[in-house]
């Protein structure tokens, strides 16, 4: 983990509610795809945890959805404004588990962290298939960017206005070596139930600190209570327990 200042280099809408923010600063503490940063926003007490969409030396890309006062404030920030971030939070996805033909499943804003994962897997010359799920065609983002990495991309929409009519779990290919998923909990549960074989699932949670101190985001697992922010957000399929 590192606390440092970043300068906003881009802050543009990708859809009516989803924005991409590029931030110039030290990305050296981001060690795995699927990690997140915790963004301090002026006038808001707690930081906002946002997954890392892409990280290159000196440049961080975040994709975030406007859901409340904090992300509304982020969306209105101009170029060159400075933000203080904690970087390198969370465990991230393990690319060593991928096998030759991994499947990446994203739901809504959960598609964002799969981008750096896909990039790393393509750099290892894996045959990467990506299924991106959204509510409707208007909410689709980054399908082209994943395709540009050389991934085989399928889009699913709940209302059928783009791609496959249904959920990502309605677009599962027949064979894949391992699966990685990120999205809202109902989607993760469907992936857990329907996707064959082993996988890693990345969870969202309401967090206090984002670095393991407050126990605010704990969920029960096969191995006992685990903090989504520090022990996760990525959990192996076999560790996961569901409430209810």
């Amino acid at each position: 983990m590192k606390k440092s200042l970043f300068e906003i280099a881009e802050n543009t809408p990708l859809t009516p509610t989803v924005y991409r923010m590029r931030l110039a600063g030290d990305t050296s503490h981001i060690t795995a795809p699927g990690q997140f940063v915790n963004v301090a926003l002026p006038g808001h007490y707690l930081r906002r945890p946002i997954s890392v969409c892409d990280a290159e030396p000196g440049m961080l890309t975040l994709i975030y959805k406007v859901v409340g006062h904090g992300t509304e404030a982020m969306a209105s920030m101009g170029l060159a404004a400075e933000l203080e971030l904690l970087t390198g939070l969370g465990n991230g996805f393990d690319t060593a588990l991928a096998g030759e033909s991994p499947l990446l499943l994203g739901g809504g804003i959960g598609c964002a962290p799969l981008y750096l994962l896909a990039k790393r897997l393509r750099a290892e010359e894996k045959c990467v298939r990506v299924a991106l799920g959204f509510n409707s065609a208007a909410e689709v983002f980054y399908a082209g960017e994943f395709a540009a990495l050389g991934c085989d991309v399928t889009v699913a929409t709940a209302d059928g206005s783009a791609g496959v009519h249904g959920f990502v779990t309605d677009a599962l290919p027949e064979r894949y070596s391992f699966h990685y998923a990120c999205g809202p909990e109902p989607m993760l549960r469907a992936v857990y139930d329907k996707a064959a074989g082993d996988g890693q699932l990345s969870f969202e949670a309401r967090m206090g600190c984002g670095f393991g101190a407050c126990m605010g985001c704990t969920r029960m697992t096969v191995n006992g209570p685990r903090r989504v922010c520090k022990d996760g957000p990525v959990f192996r399929k076999g560790e996961i327990l569901w409430e209810g």
Binding site: R206, M207, C214, G216, T218, R219, P225, E243
Partner: protein
């Protein structure tokens, strides 16, 4: 003694800054971020006799100048704390630690305190009779002077280390609880725990926290804490650990002027993991600005 040092119940602290229980885990994970030997001490995560998962999600809510939590005393239980957490802490923290204890019955307080009192690492027992987020224990001991006194007597009977009772602000008269603890033999008091509070979600039209209520912390409660420390200082002669929304070196000095011998920093650690280190580093220059030579001279300085 350095100019920042204070003595708390007979044990010297190199400075009065202490991460508050529940905001610093068992301490050792913060050693990945900085050398935690710079701290006066640390108060570790509230520990109970048995392991506790705590409350269901959602446990955290934000508010203006603060946050609500309803974690519900998640901890691995005192035996695992002694066998696993304290040895890890010993590798990276070389000072006496403050052991924070919670319970749901007198017997449980006694059992947990007795075990932790026997640990050489432990310098003080901080007995939490003020957790607002659990049912059938915790705060119910801290809202009644007679019940609070019964916990003090029971714990003092089985321990040798200084016993600091952690008080709740969720009472009409905190002074009467403080006096009852002093009369029963408490060596010190820490105040305040969080303020019982609630947020409601406009979408679901239900309380945002799964527990319904939570404990409010952060700068929003700082003046409330200062007022209570000031009032309790007037009424008791045992040392007070002041906490509640402390976020800066200036806040530390203000809390000491109100009557605190040492000062705990809570929610600020969750916003900035380096908060305590930065507050300690800022103290000498802030003391110079206000013409303070020795920090301990500020204790109770606001009283006429």
């Amino acid at each position: 003694m350095g100019r920042l040092s204070v003595t708390l119940c007979g044990v010297e602290l190199s400075n009065p800054v202490i991460p508050a229980s529940g905001t610093f885990g068992y301490g050792y994970e913060f050693a990945d971020y900085y050398d935690i030997d710079c701290l006066g001490t640390l108060s570790f995560k509230g520990t109970t006799s048995q392991p506790r998962f705590g409350n269901p999600q959602i446990r955290i809510a934000e508010t203006h100048a603060g946050m609500l939590n309803a974690v519900g005393l998640q901890n691995p239980g005192v035996d695992a704390v002694i066998s696993q957490e304290l040895p890890r802490l010993a590798k990276v923290f070389h000072k006496p630690v403050m052991a924070n204890v919670s319970g749901f019955s007198l017997e449980e307080y006694v059992c947990t305190c007795q075990k932790l009192d026997a640990q050489p690492q432990v310098g003080w027992l901080e007995v939490n009779i003020s957790c607002p987020n659990v049912h059938g224990g915790g705060m119910s001991f801290g809202t009644d002077p007679a019940a609070a006194a019964s916990v003090v007597r029971a714990v003092k009977a089985v321990t040798k280390k200084p016993v600091i009772m952690k008080l709740t602000p969720n009472v009409t008269d905190i002074v009467s609880v403080a006096r009852a603890c002093e009369d029963a033999g408490a060596d010190g008091l820490s105040l305040i725990n969080t303020v019982q509070a609630m947020r409601i979600d406009l979408y679901t039209r239900r309380p945002l926290l799964a527990n319904g209520t939570g404990g409010l912390s952060g700068p929003a409660i700082f003046p409330l804490a200062v007022r209570m420390v000031y009032q309790v200082y007037e009424a008791v002669s045992i040392p007070i650990v002041g906490l509640g929304g402390v976020s800066s070196a200036e806040d530390v000095i203000e809390m000491m002027l109100a009557g605190a011998t040492a000062v705990e920093v809570g929610a600020a650690n969750l916003v900035d993991p380096y908060a305590c280190r930065e507050i300690i580093a800022a103290l000498p220059a802030v003391m110079d600005k206000y013409g303070i030579k020795e920090l301990r001279d500020m204790i109770g300085g606001a009283h006429g």
